[in-house]
Amino acid sequence: MSTTATGLSDRSPADVAESARSVTGSTSLDDAAWRRFLHGLPGVDRVGADGRAAMLGTRSIKTTAKAWALDTIVRMVDLTTLEGADTPGKVRSLAAKAVRPEPNDASCPSAAAVCVYNDLVPVAVEALAGTGVKVAAVATAFPSGRASRAVRLADTREAVDAGADEIDMVIDRGAFLSGRYEQVYDDIVAVRAQCRAGGRHAHLKVILETGELATYDNVRRASWLAMLAGADFIKTSTGKVSPAATLPVTVVMLEAVRDFRAQTGVQVGVKPAGGIRTSKDAIKYLVAVNEVAGPDWLDPDWFRFGASSLLNDVLMQRNKLATGAYWGPDYVTVD
C-alpha cells in the first residue's frame, strides 16, 4: 500500500523530525531536550482523570444510538490472537470471522483487522486477500521489547515484507522509565522507517504498555513522544500485562491526540487493547472518543479495539437488539 486507508498524504521522515524539533523547541532532540519538553506538559491529576472517565461511563446509550455503536465497534475491532499455541488453522478461522462476523446477517460489517504474531502474517494475508480486512502484526520482540534494536527492526521488516498492513510495535519501557527518551524516540523513528521501506506503507501503532508506565503523567508523556516520532496510532497495551487498557488511561491518550492535532494539524489514532470484553465497556470507550477527542475519531481509521472476546459479546448484543432475545454463547463461534 502506498497511502494510508484515510487517503492522507504521509508525513515524510524529514517532516516528522522537523515537527519534533519545532514542537519541542530543540534542535538536538537529546534526552535533556526531551525531558524539558515532556516534563513541561501539563500534569494529569489522577483523581480528576478517574472522575472524568467515571462520569463518561454513566452515559446511557440506548436504541438507535446503541445499534450504531455496536456496528461501529465491530468495524473497529482488531480481532486478535497472540498465543504460543497459535496455528495457521486458528488464524484462518479468525480471518473468516473477521470478514463475516455474523454469517447469517449481511448487514453486519467486517472487523477492522486481524492481529497476529509475525510468523503467521503470510497465513493471514492469504486468508484476507481482497476482503478489505487488514492484517496487523505485532513486532519488535513483542510483548517485552527486550531485544537489540537490530533484532526488533528485522522483526518489523519481516512482517512488512510478508504483507502486514499494520505494525503494532512496543516501546522500550525500561528506557522510558529511566529517562532515555532519545532512545525510545529513535526506536520508533527506526521502526517507522522499516514500515515505509521499499515503497511499502504499513501503518505504525505504538504500544505504550501503560500498565508498566504506571502514572498518567507518564502516559501523557509517552503519547507525545510516540506521536512526535511519527506514530499513526498510539495503543495502550500488549494485553500481556495487567492492568491493560483502562478507560481513564484511554481518556488521557484521547486528550493527547486531540491536543496534538490542534498543535500540529496531524491526526493520530488511539487503540485501547486488552481487557475490554463486553459491549457495555466498549460503548463507554466510544462515548469517551466522542466527548474527549471528538466525532472525527469515531472511525476505524482513528480508533480501534484490540480484543479477542469482545466481538462475540457485541454480536450477541446486536442480535438482542434486533430480535429482543439473547442468544446463548453457543450461537457465536468460539474463535
Partner: protein, 497 residues
C-alpha cells in the same frame, strides 16, 4: 492551544455523521405524586388551618405537579408545640443509642428508595437526573448514616462530658438541593436529641413530603420531625415563633441578615449558611484537563444554583487564553435539556423568578462591557432555561464579578502572582468556598492558609462529604454543617462531671 486546523482528514465529515445519543429518559412511573399534600405535623398530614395552598411546578415543563398546603401562623404554632412535646417526652429522654437506630433506619430507607427520590427531585427542581441520582440522594443518605454514628458518642465529641440538645430547631432550607439540605439539617439535629420543624422552599416541597413517608416507615415517634410548607411568610412565622430554641437557615444573604436581626436579643441560637461568590483559582502549572472539568463542575453543576459555586474563575495570565479556548470547546459538549434524560448535563433553572435574576445580571454584565459567550444549544420552548454562559474581559468592579448570580454564568478574571490571586479571591463580602488548581503542593497549602473561605478545594471542586464541615466566612454566614463540627450547632456544651 491554537484553534483547530481547518483542514482535517477527508474522512472526518463522514465519521462525524454519527454518534447521536438516543433519548434515555428515566421513568417517572417509579414515583407516585399525589394531587395535593397537607402539612406533616405530629406524625400526620393535615390541611392548612385556612385551607390555603399553592402549586409546585416542574420547572422544565411548567407542568403543575401538585397543590401543597400553605401553613399559617396557627399551623406553625401547632407544629412547634408538637415538636416541643416530642422533645420533652420522647426524643430528649431517649438514649443516643436508640436515636441512632432511627437514623440508621432512615438512612437505609433513603438508599432503598433512592430512585423514587431522585426522580421526584428532578421533577420538582429541574436538575439533571444524573445529579439527583449520583449526588443529591446518595449524599443525603450518607449524612444520615454519618450522624447516626454520632448519636451515642456525643460525650466524646469534644463538647463536654454531657452535651445537651437545644430543644426545638426551626430549619428553613433552600430549593437548590431540597433533599440534601433537609438531610444536612435534620440528621445532626436528631442525632443530638433536638426535635425539628422544617420548612422546605416553596418551589421544591415534594421530596420533603415524600421524606415524611420515610419517617412513617421508620416509625419515628410523632412530632420529632414536622414539615410545614409555605413561602416567606411561613418561614418568618417559624423563625419568629417564641417556642423555638434554635434556628438553622440556608438561603440568601439578604434573608439571613433579616433572620439575624429578628432573633437578636432573643434566646435563639442560629446557624446561617448564606450566599457565596467563590473564586476558582487556576495556576499555570495546573493539571489542565482536570482543571477544565473542575471549572465546569464548579459553575455548571446544578445549573450554577449552588451557594459554593466557583462563579469567579481566576486564571493566571500566562495560560488565560489557552484555558478559555479549552473551556469553550468543553462547554460545546455539555448536553443541555430534559432533566429526566440520563445523559443531560445541564437542566432547567428552578423558577421564573430565578431565571429573571440570572437574565438581569447577565444583561448587566454585557452593559458593563464584559464579553458574553455561550455554546450553540437548543433550549426547550417551555420551562425555565438559561444556556451555559461565560464572560471574559470581566473587571473586579463589574456586578457579575461581585454579586451572586446563582446561575450557569462564569466570570473569567486573571491574576499574575499568588499574592494577587489571594487578594482578588478574598475581595468579596462572601467567603464560602474556593478552589486552587496547581501541581505544586506547597503552594496549595500557602494559598489555603490565606484564603478567607470556609471550604478550600484543591485540584477538585464541589465535592461534598458528610465528614467534612461546611460553612462560611464573612457574609456567607456562621456555624458549620457536616462533620464533628456540625454537632456543635445543635448542642449546648455540658459540664457535668
Amino acid at each position: 492551544m491554537p484553534s483547530q486546523p481547518s483542514t482535517t482528514s477527508s474522512t472526518s465529515s463522514a465519521a462525524a455523521a454519527a454518534f447521536e445519543y438516543a433519548p434515555a429518559p428515566e421513568s417517572r412511573a417509579v414515583v407516585d405524586i399525589r394531587s395535593s399534600y397537607g402539612l406533616f405535623v405530629d406524625g400526620a398530614f393535615s390541611a392548612a388551618s385556612d385551607d390555603g395552598s399553592f402549586k409546585t411546578v416542574n420547572p422544565a415543563t411548567e407542568e403543575v405537579l401538585a397543590e401543597v398546603a400553605e401553613a399559617t401562623e396557627a399551623d406553625v404554632d401547632r407544629a412547634v408545640r408538637a415538636a416541643r412535646r416530642a422533645q420533652d417526652k420522647v426524643w430528649g429522654p431517649m438514649p443516643g443509642r436508640e436515636r441512632a437506630k432511627y437514623l440508621f433506619r432512615i438512612a437505609r430507607l433513603l438508599a432503598e428508595r433512592s430512585r423514587e427520590f431522585a426522580v421526584l427531585e428532578t421533577l420538582d427542581n429541574g436538575k439533571p437526573i444524573r445529579e439527583s441520582r449520583d449526588v443529591d440522594v446518595p449524599t443525603a443518605a450518607a449524612h444520615f448514616f454519618y450522624y447516626a454514628g454520632w448519636a451515642d458518642k456525643l460525650e466524646h465529641a469534644g463538647y463536654g462530658a454531657d452535651p445537651r440538645p437545644h430543644g426545638v430547631a426551626a430549619q428553613v432550607i433552600p430549593w437548590n438541593f431540597p433533599l440534601l439540605m433537609l438531610a444536612w439539617k435534620i440528621a445532626p439535629a436528631l442525632a443530638t436529641g433536638n426535635t425539628v420543624v422544617l420548612k422546605p422552599a416553596e418551589t421544591t416541597p415534594l421530596t420533603a413530603l415524600l421524606f415524611a413517608d420515610v419517617l412513617r416507615q421508620a416509625e419515628l415517634p410523632p412530632g420529632v420531625v414536622n414539615i410545614v410548607t409555605g413561602a416567606g411568610a411561613t418561614g418568618a412565622a417559624l423563625v419568629g415563633h417564641p417556642g423555638i430554641d434554635k434556628v438553622a437557615f440556608t438561603g440568601s444573604t439578604a434573608v439571613g441578615k433579616r433572620i439575624a436581626r429578628e432573633i437578636a436579643g432573643s434566646r435563639k441560637h442560629a446557624t446561617l449558611e448564606l450566599g457565596g461568590k467563590a473564586a476558582n483559582i487556576v495556576f499555570d502549572d495546573a493539571p489542565i484537563d482536570q482543571a477544565v472539568e473542575g471549572i465546569v463542575n464548579g459553575i455548571f453543576f446544578n445549573q450554577g444554583q449552588v451557594c459554593c459555586a466557583g462563579s469567579r474563575l481566576l486564571v493566571q495570565e500566562t495560560i488565560a487564553e489557552e484555558l478559555v479556548e479549552r473551556l469553550k470547546s468543553r462547554l460545546g459538549t455539555l448536553r443541555v435539556g430534559d432533566p429526566m434524560d440520563k445523559n443531560t448535563d445541564v437542566g432547567a433553572i428552578n423558577s421564573s423568578q430565578q431565571l429573571a435574576r440570572i437574565t438581569e445580571l447577565t444583561e448587566a454584565g454585557v452593559a458593563e462591557g464584559a464579553t458574553r459567550w455561550s455554546p450553540a444549544c437548543d433550549l426547550p420552548s417551555s420551562g425555565y432555561w438559561f444556556a451555559p454562559t461565560l464572560f471574559t474581559g470581566v473587571s473586579a468592579a463589574h456586578r457579575i464579578a461581585r454579586e451572586e448570580i446563582f446561575g450557569p454564568v462564569l466570570s473569567v478574571l486573571t491574576f499574575r502572582t499568588p499574592a494577587e490571586a489571594v487578594a482578588k479571591a478574598n475581595n468579596t463580602p462572601y467567603g464560602l468556598s474556593a478552589g486552587i488548581w496547581t501541581e505544586k503542593g506547597s503552594r496549595i497549602l500557602w494559598m489555603a492558609d490565606r484564603l478567607r473561605a470556609g471550604v478550600v478545594w484543591s485540584n477538585t471542586f464541589n465535592r461534598f462529604d458528610p465528614t467534612s464541615p461546611f460553612g462560611g466566612y464573612k457574609e456567607s454566614g456562621y456555624g458549620r454543617e457536616g462533620g464533628r463540627h456540625g454537632l456543635a450547632s445543635y448542642l449546648i456544651e455540658g459540664s457535668t462531671y
